[in-house]
């Protein structure tokens, strides 16, 4: 695939991510912060988000497996995940977290388990999509091109 095609593919892909609600304006803000002095800023922040989220999802799984669920603890983790997903613009993950917190408040284990599954699913989707997008960007850069805004 030639450079122009790659660039077009990237723009289309990125647009679709916004369109389908995977990313929101906060992600755009991240991209705007990146510059020549910090060319890997977005990738670095997103990697931190992945690390953070995976840790939180593991903690949530453990917390919800307990005989007697500590809802305060579960809520604290979801709250953190909500915060970090909204900070990078991972809108769909954030939305599930909102519903998740409601179930925590109601001390509803079933509801929480359902949300956990949902949030894991949304997280893995956005992770895959962001990784694909970064891969495309890398291909463009390797071909000597620049990333279209």
């Amino acid at each position: 695939m030639d450079l122009v095609q790659l660039q077009r593919q990237l723009v289309e892909y990125r647009t679709s991510l916004y369109h389908e609600g995977f990313l929101d304006a906060q992600f755009t803000q991240l991209q705007e912060l990146q510059d020549e002095n910090n060319p890997d800023f977005v990738v670095e922040v997103v990697s931190l988000f992945f690390e953070d989220s995976e840790r939180l999802l593991n903690e949530l799984t453990t917390a919800l497996e307990q005989q007697s669920v500590d809802f305060k603890r579960v809520d604290a983790h979801v709250h953190q995940l909500k915060g970090s997903s909204s900070s990078i613009g991972a809108q769909r993950v954030q939305k599930v977290c909102i519903a998740f917190r409601n179930y925590c408040e109601e001390k509803n284990v079933e509801g929480c388990l359902k949300c956990l599954q949902q949030v894991k699913h949304e997280y893995s989707l956005v992770k895959t999509k962001l990784e694909s997008m970064f891969q495309l960007e890398q291909q463009i850069l390797s071909a000597g091109g620049s990333i279209p805004m």
Partner: protein
């Protein structure tokens, strides 16, 4: 150094970018947050405005910095952190006589919790994630405050 005009814009891409950076060159900011991702994000936002940024991982680290004689013009304080949370750290700093501007940044949605945090001694409060508009506003207020003294 008074600059009334440059701080009033919320866009980073204006002609007076240089003015903004120059005016903010001697302002020191402490970012207190237990999430490496948020620390990195806020650090970047603030650097773009020409500020000198230091980070702390929790409230106790922040308080310790002041105990050891550090001073900052602005503190961005997260609420939920291990060891010592933002509310406690804010109370502690005010008790110590710290007059720096303290801005609470958190993803709290309960109005009672927000109130309690404000009452601990915050100057302002914003929900996560911070936007460039929020930072413009904070810096405007900070410059006003410094010009009064």
């Amino acid at each position: 150094m008074v600059s009334g005009n440059s701080a009033s814009s919320s866009s980073l891409s204006m002609k007076s970018d240089e003015d903004i950076v120059n005016n903010n060159n001697n302002l020191r900011v402490l970012v207190v947050d237990d999430s490496p991702m948020i620390r990195k994000l806020h650090d970047m936002y603030l650097k773009k405005f020409g500020l000198k940024v230091q980070v702390a991982e929790n409230g106790k680290q922040a308080v310790d910095l002041f105990h050891f004689g550090a001073s900052f013009d602005l503190i961005l304080m997260d609420k939920e952190m291990p060891i010592m949370d933002g509310e406690e750290a804010t109370k502690e700093l005010r008790t110590m006589g710290v007059t720096s501007m303290i801005v609470g940044v958190t993803s709290l949605d309960s109005p009672n919790e927000k109130q309690a945090f404000m009452e601990a001694g915050l100057d302002y409060f914003f929900t996560k994630p911070l936007t460039t508009d929020n930072i413009s506003f904070i810096l405007q207020e900070l410059n006003k405050k410094n010009n009064k003294n």
